[in-house]
C-alpha cells in the first residue's frame, strides 16, 4: 500500500468530507484522514479549518498517528493560538509517558509550537525532561531550550534554563553534550550569557572523541569562538582536534580546518609545530576534491580563501586542481580560480598547457575565464609572459569570436604591465578589429590604439571608424574613444585636429551622459588653455598594475577565514551582508515616516524647522530600543524582498538607469521620495540633480549616488542660533565611538562623535583606511531625523586616504534638514560613500549637542511657563552627585553645556536651582535641581510641553556632572 493516493483528492467538498472522516469512530479511517490532511498541507493547501478535528485525534496510542497530528499542530498552531492551548494537556501528559520515545516526541513538538501563551505551560515539563533519566529525552530537551529561546529569550533566562544547559555540558552522554553545545552557542550568539572558558573547552574536547559526527561539528564550531589564554593551550587544542581531519564527513573536516586556521595565528610563525600542522592540512582538503561535486564546490570556495591566507599550504598540489572533462561547470570555474592563485614560476609551464586546453572547450564562460587566466598568468609570472602572449596569439588565430574578444582584453593588461615589449603583435590585433562587438573588448582595443598611436600608421583612420558610430556605443567605449582620440591628437597634432574637435563636440553637445560630458569639457579646456599641461595630464606615466587580481581585502579575508565551512565562506561575503540579525525589522517606523512625509513638500527638503516633536504623538517610555543594526537599516531602506532585482530597477529615466542598487537606497535615505515607493522619487528629474554636481568631481564609475549626494547636501544656512553662550569653556563631549568597522566595511573604519563647539554642531571623525587601495571621493548624507540634523556643507576630504592612514575630519552640521521622529529619539541614520561603496550606519547623537546658546529665559517667563505646563508633564529623577559638586560648580558646568541658570534660592538647608534649556528646534525644557546638604544625591524635576523632549535628559545631566 502506498501513500501517494492521498495527493490525488481534488473534490470540491473535500474539507467537509475530511471533517466527517476525522470524526469517524474507526481508527483506521481517522488515520487515513489525517494523512490526507498532511498531504494537502504539503502541497500548500490551507487546511487550518480542520484544526479542532485534528487536535481531537491527538489522544491516541498509535505513535504514527500521534506524529502526524503533531506535524499538523506545528504548522497551524500559530494561526489558531486559542485552539492550540487545547493541546497543552496532552503534551504535559506525554512528557510523563513511560516510553522515552514518546517523551522525547512531546518535548520536541512542544518547542515547535510557536504560540506565546503556551510557552509558560511548557517550562515545567521541559525542566523535568532536561533531568530525565533517558539520554534520548535529554538530548531532545537541550535543543528545545534553543527553540524556546528563539521565541521568548526572557523566559529562558528567568527560568534558569541556561544554567541547566550548562549542566548538561557535563552529561555522561556525548550526544547530550553536543546538543547542549549547539543550543548554548545559538543563545550566546544573540546575547553572551555563558562565557566559554578553558574548563568548558576541556569538557568539549573530551566529548569530541565520542560523539556523533554532527556533534563533532557543533563542538568544533563552538571551539572556533574560543580564544585560548596562551600558546600552550592553543597548541594543546590543535593537537587534540587535528585527528578530526581524517573524518569522512566534510563538515567535520572543514570545521576542524577553521579552528586550526584560527589557532595557527596564535602560535609563533616559524615553529616546527606550525610546519607540521600546515603539512597535515593539505591532504584532507585535496581529498575533499574527490567527493561529490556539491562538496567539491564548497571545498573549493574555502580553498580559495585558504590559499589567499596561507599560500604555502597547497603550493605543491597544483595538479589536483586540473579540470576534469566531466566536472560540473561550477566546479570547473572554481578550480580555475585556485589554479591561478597557485601559479608560480616552477609550475607555470604545466598551468599554461592546461589553460590552453581549456580554451578550446565548449562552455563559453569557462573558455572566457580560461583566456583571461592566461593573461593573469602573464602578469603574475614575468618569466612566462612571452609564452602567454604567444599562446594568446595562437588563440586569436582560431578566430572564435568570444576567444578573440577576451584575448584582446587581457592583452591590454599585459601591455600595461610590460610596456614596450610586445607591441609587435598590434598588427595582428588590428586585423580582428571588425569582429569585436562587446564593449569591453572594443574599449580595450581603442585604448591600445590610443596608447600606441605613434606606432600605428593608420590610427586616425581606425579611430575615425569608431567615431562614426559614436552614439551607438556603450558609455565605456565612448569614454575610452574620447580619451584615445585626445591622446592621438597630442601625439600627432598636425593631421588629427578635425577628428578631435568632432569627438569633443559629440561628447559635450550631443551626449546626455554626464560622465562623458564632464570628461569632454575637461579635455576641451585643457587643450585650449595649455596643450603642454594637457600632454602631462593625458599622457602621464601610468602606475603599475598589481600582480594579483581579485584578492579579497585582508580584513575581509581574516573575517572569512573565521567562517570556513559556512555560507559566508562560500559567498566570500561577510555574514552581515546577507543575514538579518535583529528579528523584528524597523517596519513599524514606516507608517510614521509616510505620515510625516505628506506634511512636508514632496522633496522632503522642508526648511521649516517647526518642531518635529509636536507632530508626533508622544510615545510612552520611548527611551527603550537600541540603535537598529546597520543591516536591518539597509534591508529596510532598500525594501529588499525575495526578488531584489525586480524591485529596485523602478526609476525609468534613462540617464538614471545606471544608478546602482545602493544608489536607489540612498534616494530613500535622503528623503527624496518620503515614502517607501521608488516610483515617484528618482523620476523627478534626474538631470537637475546631475546638473548640480560640481564639475570638478572626478567622474566615478558609480557616480549616480555621489551626485545625488552633492545635489542635496547643498549649503543651507547653518542655524547658529546665537553665539551668546559659546566661548571659552568647552562643554561635555562624548568620546569617539566606532561607527564603521573596517572588517565589515571593505576596509573603511570610521570613529566619530557629535560635539557642540562655538555655537554649532560638529561631527568629528577619524577615518582610517585599512584597505589596500586609497580611499577617496568621500561624501556623506543623513537620513531624516528627529532634529533635522544635516551636514551644513559637503564632506570635504582633500587628499585620498592612503592605506593604513588616518585622517581627522570635522564637519559642521546644521539642524535645518527634513524632520522625522526617530526611535530612539536621538538616533540618526547616516550614509557614507567613497570610491568603493556606500556604507550605512546609525548613531545616537548626545542630546546636549542640540542645546542652543540662546536658551536663557527671563525669570518671569520661566515662572509663567512652569505654572502653565501641567503636572502630568513633570518628571522627577534622582541623580548621584558623585563628585560632590557645590551649587556653583553645578551652575558653571551646566552653563558650559548651554543649560542656563535662571534663578537660585535656598530653603531649609536645601539649595534650589532653576535652569532652562532650549533645543535647536525651539522646544523649551525647564528644570529644577534640589541640592540638600545632607545627601549625596540631587533631585531633578524636568518639565516641558512635549514629554518626548524629556527622554533621557536625566542621563545627560548625570554625564555633565560626572565629567
Amino acid at each position: 500500500m502506498t501513500d501517494s493516493k492521498y495527493f490525488t483528492t481534488t473534490k470540491k467538498g473535500e474539507i467537509f468530507e475530511l471533517k466527517t472522516e476525522l470524526n469517524s469512530d474507526k481508527k483506521e479511517k481517522k488515520r487515513e484522514a489525517v494523512k490526507k490532511v498532511i498531504a494537502s498541507m504539503t502541497v500548500g493547501k490551507d487546511v487550518s479549518a480542520l484544526f479542532p478535528d485534528v487536535i481531537n485525534c491527538m489522544q491516541t496510542d498509535n505513535v504514527e498517528l500521534k506524529k502526524l497530528v503533531y506535524l499538523y499542530l506545528m504548522n497551524y498552531a500559530k494561526s489558531q493560538p486559542d485552539m492550540a492551548i487545547m493541546a497543552v494537556n496532552t503534551f504535559v501528559k506525554d512528557c510523563e509517558d513511560p516510553n522515552p520515545l514518546i517523551r522525547a516526541l512531546a518535548v520536541r513538538t512542544m518547542g515547535c509550537i510557536r504560540v506565546e501563551k503556551i510557552t509558560e505551560y511548557l517550562c515545567e515539563p521541559l525542566r523535568k525532561c532536561m533531568k530525565d533519566e533517558d539520554p534520548y529525552v535529554r538530548k531532545t530537551a537541550a535543543v528545545c531550550v534553543a527553540k524556546l529561546y528563539d521565541m521568548n529569550p526572557q523566559l529562558v533566562e528567568e527560568q534558569g534554563f541556561v544554567e541547566l544547559l550548562n549542566d548538561l555540558l557535563s552529561d555522561a552522554n556525548p550526544m547530550v553534550v553536543a546538543n547542549a553545545v549547539a543550543a548554548l552557542s545559538e543563545i550566546n550568539e544573540s546575547k553572551p550569557l555563558i562565557e566559554v572558558n578553558s574548563q568548558m573547552v576541556n569538557k568539549l574536547l573530551t566529548a569530541l572523541n565520542e560523539c556523533t559526527e554532527w556533534g563533532q561539528v557543533f563542538i568544533l564550531d563552538a571551539l572556533s569562538g574560543y580564544t585560548p589564554k596562551d600558546e600552550r593551550e592553543a597548541q594543546n587544542i590543535c593537537e587534540r582536534i587535528s585527528p578530526r581531519l581524517a573524518h569522512a564527513n566534510a563538515a567535520v573536516v572543514l570545521s576542524t580546518v577553521k579552528v586550526l586556521m584560527k589557532l595557527i595565528e596564535m602560535l609563533p610563525a616559524d615553529s616546527d609545530f606550525i610546519a607540521s600542522l600546515t603539512k597535515k592540512l593539505a591532504p584532507p582538503m585535496v581529498t575533499l576534491l574527490s567527493a561529490e561535486p556539491e562538496i567539491q564546490y564548497v571545498a573549493l570556495r574555502n580553498i580559495n580563501l585558504i590559499v589567499q591566507k596561507r599560500p604555502d599550504i597547497l603550493k605543491q598540489e597544483m595538479k589536483v586542481f586540473f579540470v576534469k572533462y566531466n566536472d560540473p561547470i561550477y566546479v570547473k570555474m572554481e578550480k580555475l580560480d585556485v589554479m591561478i592563485r597557485l601559479a608560480q614560476q616552477s609550475n607555470i609551464a604545466q598551468v599554461l598547457s592546461e589553460l590552453k586546453e581549456y580554451a578550446t572547450e565548449v562552455d563559453v564562460d569557462f573558455v572566457r575565464k580560461s583566456v583571461r587566466a592566461i593573461g593573469r598568468c602573464a602578469i603574475k609570472v614575468e618569466q612566462s609572459a612571452e609564452r602567454c602572449v604567444a599562446t594568446l596569439l595562437e588563440l586569436i588565430q582560431t578566430k572564435v569570436n568570444y576567444v578573440v574578444q577576451e584575448a584582446v582584453v587581457v592583452i591590454k593588461d599585459i601591455f600595461r604591465k610590460y610596456p614596450n615589449r610586445y607591441e609587435s603583435i598590434i598588427s595582428t590585433l588590428c586585423e580582428n578589429l571588425d569582429t569585436l562587438d562587446e564593449p569591453e573588448a572594443r574599449a580595450s582595443m581603442i585604448w591600445i590604439i590610443g596608447e600606441y598611436a605613434e606606432r600605428i600608421d593608420n590610427a586616425d583612420e581606425l579611430l575615425e571608424s569608431f567615431v562614426d558610430g559614436f552614439h551607438d556605443e556603450n558609455t565605456q567605449v565612448q569614454l575610452q574613444l574620447l580619451t584615445s582620440v585626445v591622446k592621438l591628437f597630442l601625439k600627432r597634432p598636425t593631421d588629427t585636429q578635425q577628428l578631435v574637435q568632432r569627438v569633443l563636440s559629440l561628447a559635450t553637445q550631443d551626449s546626455d551622459n554626464p560622465d562623458l560630458r564632464d570628461r569632454g569639457y575637461i579635455y576641451w579646456r585643457l587643450l585650449s588653455a595649455d596643450p603642454a599641461a594637457a600632454k602631462e595630464v593625458v599622457l602621464a606615466e601610468k602606475p603599475l598594475i598589481s600582480e594579483e587580481t581579485d584578492l579579497l581585502e585582508p580584513s575581509l579575508l581574516d573575517q572569512l577565514v573565521c567562517h570556513i565551512g559556512s555560507l559566508a565562506s562560500v559567498y566570500h561575503k561577510p555574514p552581515s551582508s546577507f543575514v538579518d540579525n535583529t528579528k523584528a525589522p524597523l517596519r513599524q517606523l514606516q507608517p510614521n515616516a509616510a505620515a510625516l512625509a505628506t506634511n512636508g513638500s514632496s522633496t522632503g527638503m522642508d526648511m521649516d524647522s517647526a518642531p518635529g516633536l509636536i507632530g508626533v504623538p508622544s510615545v510612552g517610555g520611548a527611551a527603550g530600543g537600541a540603535v537598529p543594526s546597520q543591516d536591518t537599516l539597509i534591508a529596510d531602506l532598500l525594501q529588499l524582498d525575495m526578488n531584489p532585482m525586480g524591485g529596485v530597477a523602478a526609476p525609468a529615466a534613462p540617464a538614471a538607469a545606471h544608478v546602482a542598487a545602493p544608489g536607489g537606497g540612498l534616494d530613500d535615505l535622503l528623503g527624496l521620495g518620503g515614502g517607501p515607493s521608488y516610483g515617484a522619487a528618482p523620476a523627478a528629474d534626474p538631470m537637475a540633480a546631475w546638473g548640480m554636481a560640481p564639475a570638478a568631481a572626478a567622474p566615478a564609475p558609480s557616480g549616480g549616488g555621489l551626485n545625488d549626494l552633492f545635489g542635496l547636501g547643498g549649503p543651507g544656512s547653518p542655524s547658529l542660533g546665537g553665539m551668546l553662550g559659546g566661548g571659552g569653556q568647552q562643554g561635555y563631549q562624548t568620546p569617539k565611538a566606532l561607527w564603521l568597522d573596517a572588517a565589515t566595511h571593505k576596509g573603511l573604519q570610521v570613529e566619530g562623535a557629535m560635539v557642540r563647539k562655538n555655537g554649532a554642531i560638529y561631527m568629528e571623525m577619524a577615518i582610517t583606511n585599512k584597505a589596500m587601495q586609497p580611499l577617496s571621493d568621500f561624501a556623506i548624507q543623513f537620513n531624516k531625523n528627529s532634529f533635522g540634523l544635516v551636514p551644513a556643507q559637503p564632506l570635504h576630504i582633500a587628499a585620498p586616504v592612503f592605506p593604513n592612514q588616518t585622517t581627522q575630519v570635522s564637519l559642521q552640521l546644521a539642524t535645518n534638514g527634513p524632520v522625522q521622529k526617530m526611535e530612539p529619539l536621538a538616533n540618526v541614520q547616516i550614509a557614507m560613500k567613497n570610491n568603493v561603496d556606500v556604507f550605512y550606519f546609525a548613531t545616537i547623537v548626545p542630546m546636549l549637542v542640540y542645546f542652543a546658546e540662546d536658551g536663557l529665559m527671563e525669570k518671569r517667563d520661566f515662572l509663567e511657563l512652569w505654572k502653565e505646563i501641567p503636572e502630568a508633564n513633570e518628571q522627577q529623577f534622582t541623580i548621584a552627585n558623585v563628585r560632590n559638586l557645590s551649587a556653583d560648580d553645578i551652575c558653571a558646568k551646566l552653563q558650559a553645556n548651554n543649560v542656563f541658570t535662571v534663578a537660585r534660592r535656598s530653603v531649609d538647608g536645601q539649595e534650589l536651582l532653576y535652569h532652562s534649556i532650549k533645543y535647536t528646534n525651539k522646544i523649551v525644557v525647564l528644570s529644577e535641581l534640589k541640592i540638600s546638604a545632607a545627601s549625596q544625591s540631587l533631585t531633578l524635576s524636568l518639565k516641558s510641553r512635549h514629554q518626548t523632549a524629556l527622554v533621557s535628559l536625566e542621563e545627560v545631566y548625570q554625564k555633565i556632572f560626572d565629567n
Binding site: 500548500g44 533517558d134 556525548p174 581524517a246 561535486p293 555560507l567
Partner: protein
C-alpha cells in the same frame, strides 16, 4: 542551522516541505522554484549554493528530484551539503530509490524520518542503520520497556552503531579493498594527474562487542616524514625515502565513525568496534607509485574535411597471470559523423550515434597483452554541426582488475572479544582486492 527542507519534483511541485525555523515561510519554497528550478536560463544557476533574497539555498538533484536545504542564517554550508547527501542515502536505504513516485508513496515515513534526522535545524542522527532500529516502514513495532531503553541509549550512546548481545554461531569477517584509479593522460602519454581513491569495505558477522585492529602496509609517513614511524611497519628500515612495493605512501586517510581517531593519531593503530553487517571502514587516497593497469594510445588523423581515421592501442600493464574484466573503451567521434567502420582485434566495437562515440567492449583481457582497434569515420560536410569546432573529448576506459593498483595490502586484522569465549583464530576472515576505473582518461 537549517531553516527548512524541501523536496520538489522535476516540474517544481512540492513533494515534501518541512520548516524547522520560524524565519522561513512558504515564500521561500516558491522563491527557490521560481529562481532556480524554473530559471529561464538554467545557465544562470550554476552552483549548488544560491542566495535568493536573504535566504540561502543548498540543493542537490538526483533522478529528477530536487533536495533543498534553506537557511536565513550564516549556517554551516558543508554540513548542509553533507546532510542532503545523508538524507538521500537514508531514503535510498529505506525505499530503494529516490524518485518522485517513491517519495509520494512514503511521505508520512519521510516526515517521520526528517524529525529524527534534523531537530530545529540541527542534524541529529543520519545513519540509516541506527534509524532502522526504531523507525520502521510498517509502523512502530510494539516493544517492551527494556527494549525501548536499549534503543534510546544505543542511538545516543558512545557506540551508537552497534547493539549489545549479537550472537553468531560462526564468526566470519569479509574485507573488500576496492580501489578506483583516476588518470588524466596527455595525448603524448604524459601523466597529468593520477590518483587512487580506495575504500576498505567490511562485512562482519561477529558475536558480542569485538574489539578489532587492522594492520595495513602504509609507509607511516605522509609525504616526507611528518609522521615519524611509530610501531614497526613493514616499511620500517626503508624509510630513507625509496619507495618499494612493500609499503605504500598514503596521502590521506578517512575513517568511519567507529574508528578511534585519537588512537590512530598517537599510536598509528586502526582500532574499532565494527557495526554489525557491512560498513565502509576507511577511505584513502594515494598519488605516488600507482601501477596503472591500462595504457591507451590514441591516434587521430583528420584525413580530410569528410574523413577521419582513428586508431586506439590498449596495453594491459599487469602480470600475465591476472585477468582484467569488463573492459570498455569509449572513443569519442564528432557529432557530425555520418558513418563509421570499425575493425578490432578482440572484443566488439560499435558506433553509438546517440552518444557520439565508438564503444569497444571486451569481457576479459589477460595481463601483458596489447590489442588494437581502428576506425574510419565519415563526416558530414554541410549543416550547422559540421561548421562547429569539435574539441576532441578524451578517450575514457572502464575496467576491473583483481588487484589493488596502489599496492595497498591488509597485513592483519585481529579480533578480540574478552567476554565471549572465542579468540582471533576462531574467526574466519576473507580478504579480496579489486581495482576499478574511476575517471580514466587519455586526451587525444
Amino acid at each position: 542551522m537549517i531553516g527548512g527542507l524541501f523536496v520538489y519534483n522535476h516540474k517544481g511541485e512540492v513533494l515534501i516541505c518541512r520548516l524547522f525555523r520560524d524565519d522561513l515561510t512558504r515564500d521561500a519554497v516558491n522563491a527557490f522554484r521560481v529562481n532556480v528550478i524554473h530559471a529561464r536560463q538554467q545557465i544562470q544557476v550554476r552552483s549548488p549554493v544560491n542566495l535568493i533574497g536573504r535566504v540561502s539555498f543548498v540543493h542537490r538533484k538526483t533522478d529528477g528530484v530536487w533536495l533543498v536545504a534553506a537557511s536565513r542564517k550564516d549556517a554551516n554550508a558543508a554540513a548542509m551539503v553533507e546532510v542532503l547527501r545523508r538524507i538521500a542515502i537514508t531514503m535510498h536505504s529505506y525505499f530503494g530509490k529516490l524518485t518522485e513516485e517513491a517519495i509520494r508513496s512514503n511521505f508520512v515515513l519521510i516526515y517521520e524520518l526528517l524529525d529524527e534526522l534534523i531537530d530545529f535545524g540541527y542534524p541529529q542522527l543520519t545513519d540509516p542503520s541506527v534509524l532502522k532500529t526504531y523507525i520502521m516502514q510498517s509502523g512502530v513495532k510494539a516493544v517492551t520497556q527494556e527494549e525501548q531503553k536499549q534503543i534510546t541509549s544505543q542511538v545516543t550512546g558512545q557506540i551508537s552503531w552497534r547493539r549489545e548481545g549479537i550472537k553468531y554461531r560462526r564468526n566470519e569477517l569479509f574485507i573488500d579493498v576496492v580501489e578506483h584509479v583516476n588518470l588524466l593522460m596527455s595525448a603524448q602519454g604524459q601523466v597529468l594527474s593520477a590518483h587512487v581513491a580506495g575504500r576498505v569495505l567490511m562485512k562482519s558477522f561477529l558475536s558480542g562487542m569485538p574489539e578489532c585492529k587492522l594492520g595495513i602496509n602504509d609507509k607511516l609517513s605522509l609525504r616526507d616524514g611528518t609522521r615519524t614511524a611509530v610501531g614497526s611497519g613493514v616499511g620500517g628500515g626503508l624509510d630513507d625515502g625509496k619507495p618499494t612495493r612493500v609499503s605504500v605512501a598514503i596521502d590521506d586517510l578517512q575513517f568511519d565513525q567507529c574508528v578511534r581517531l585519537g588512537k590512530f593519531e598517537t599510536e598509528h593503530a586502526i582500532s574499532f568496534i565494527p557495526p554489525d553487517g557491512s560498513c565502509e571502514l576507511m577511505k584513502y587516497r594515494t598519488t605516488s607509485d600507482i601501477k596503472l593497469p591500462f595504457r591507451v594510445i590514441p591516434l587521430v588523423r583528420e584525413v580530410s574535411k569528410s574523413k577521419m581515421e582513428i586508431k586506439v592501442v590498449l596495453k594491459a600493464d599487469f602480470k600475465p597471470n591476472l585477468i582484467g574484466q569488463k573492459i570498455e573503451v569509449r572513443i569519442p567521434v564528432p557529432p557530425h559523423t555520418s558513418g563509421v567502420s570499425v575493425i578490432c582485434m578482440k572484443g566488439k566495437a560499435k558506433y553509438k550515434s546517440g552518444e557520439n562515440a565508438i564503444v569497444w567492449k571486451m569481457k576479459r583481457l589477460a595481463g601483458g597483452k596489447e590489442v588494437q582497434c581502428s576506425a574510419e569515420v565519415d563526416l558530414l560536410t554541410f549543416g550547422n554541426v559540421a561548421n562547429r569546432k569539435w574539441n576532441r573529448p578524451p578517450v575514457s576506459i572502464n575496467f576491473e582488475v583483481p588487484f589493488a593498483p596502489s599496492g595497498f595490502k591488509v597485513r592483519y586484522l585481529k579480533v578480540f572479544e574478552s567476554k565471549l569465549n572465542y579468540s582471533d583464530h576462531d574467526v574466519i576472515k576473507w580478504v579480496r582486492y579489486m581495482g576499478r576505473s574511476g575517471i580514466y582518461e587519455t586526451r587525444c
